[in-house]
């Protein structure tokens, strides 16, 4: 393998964004909590609005201690505002 080929192969694998990696490392271990939060957000507009206003605060109040990256993951999966 010559240097040019080697350089090409090195360039093919840039790092994934750190927040993506951290989230993937955490998710399997908080899956039940996430499912429960999303289920409740789907059925309770009040809880959903509270999450949109201050997700970390609303979750802490409910007794959840989740990493910021996981909270961001939950926010991306919230049902639409008019759901």
């Amino acid at each position: 393998m010559d240097d040019r080929n080697l350089e090409h192969l090195l360039r093919l694998l840039p790092p994934a964004p750190e927040s993506w990696v951290r989230t993937a490392q955490e998710l399997p271990f908080v899956r039940d909590e996430i499912d429960s939060i999303l289920e409740r957000a789907g059925s309770s507009p009040t809880f959903r609005d509270a999450l949109r206003k201050d997700a970390s605060g609303a979750l802490r109040q409910e007794g959840y201690e989740l990493a910021d990256d996981v909270v961001a993951h939950i926010l991306r999966r919230l049902p639409p505002a008019d759901a």
Binding site: M1, D3, L6, E7, L9, L10, R11, L12, L13, P14, P15, A16, P17, W20, V21, T23, A24, Q25, L27, P28, F29, R31, H73, R76
Partner: protein, 184 residues
């Protein structure tokens, strides 16, 4: 790449060992990211969802992997399938012709080769690893590398050249990853 044998790492993940899972994700995140971004060119907001979906499914389905040494290829095939599923949902229909599928396979093979190079890179000394990763993978300019590593920018090219030579030497005798024993 970790020095932990793959099957030992996978076994620990199957037992729910969070440190092992962190290591597995860290080790394979570049590969999954490259498939999603380079091969299928998903936009970043959609790419992250697929990225998380891939690792969630890897965790859930590790029991289904019959040959732990085929982990890399299995993850590659899973990522490929989830990207295609995503594109089909988004565009309603996706024509995956033989030609397209062949091109995807070629790119996946290139990435598997890149992963072998990456594994060899992980075996080099920290300074070599750092300088090659910064220059080629993170595309940092000499001035940034020099400032962050505390070395003269004028010596960076020669250091890169020496480290590439070491990388090439360490690659001698290495074999590409096995094909997956389990695909869906």
């Amino acid at each position: 790449m970790s020095e932990t044998p793959v099957h030992a790492l996978v076994e620990r993940c199957r037992r729910g060992d969070q440190d092992a899972w962190r290591e597995l994700v860290a080790t394979h995140s570049r590969y999954v990211y490259a498939i999603i971004m380079r091969v299928f060119r998903l936009p970043p907001d959609e790419a992250e969802d697929v990225f998380q979906d891939v690792f969630s499914r890897v965790f859930e389905r590790l029991e289904m992997l019959r040959d732990d040494d085929a982990l890399v290829a299995w993850i590659g095939q899973l990522t490929r399938r989830l990207c295609i599923d995503h594109l089909r949902r988004r565009r309603d229909t996706l024509e995956l012709t033989d030609e397209t599928a062949g091109a995807v396979d070629d790119q996946l093979e290139q990435l598997e080769l890149a992963l072998v190079v990456r594994q060899a890179l992980e075996g080099l000394s920290q300074p070599c690893r750092d300088i090659l990763d910064r220059f080629f993978c993170r595309e940092q300019p000499y001035v940034v590398i020099g400032a962050e590593l505390g070395i003269a920018a004028g010596t960076i090219a020669s250091r890169i050249s020496r480290c590439l030579a070491r990388l090439r030497a360490s690659l001698e005798g290495r074999q590409p990853a096995q094909r997956p024993s389990e695909r869906r």
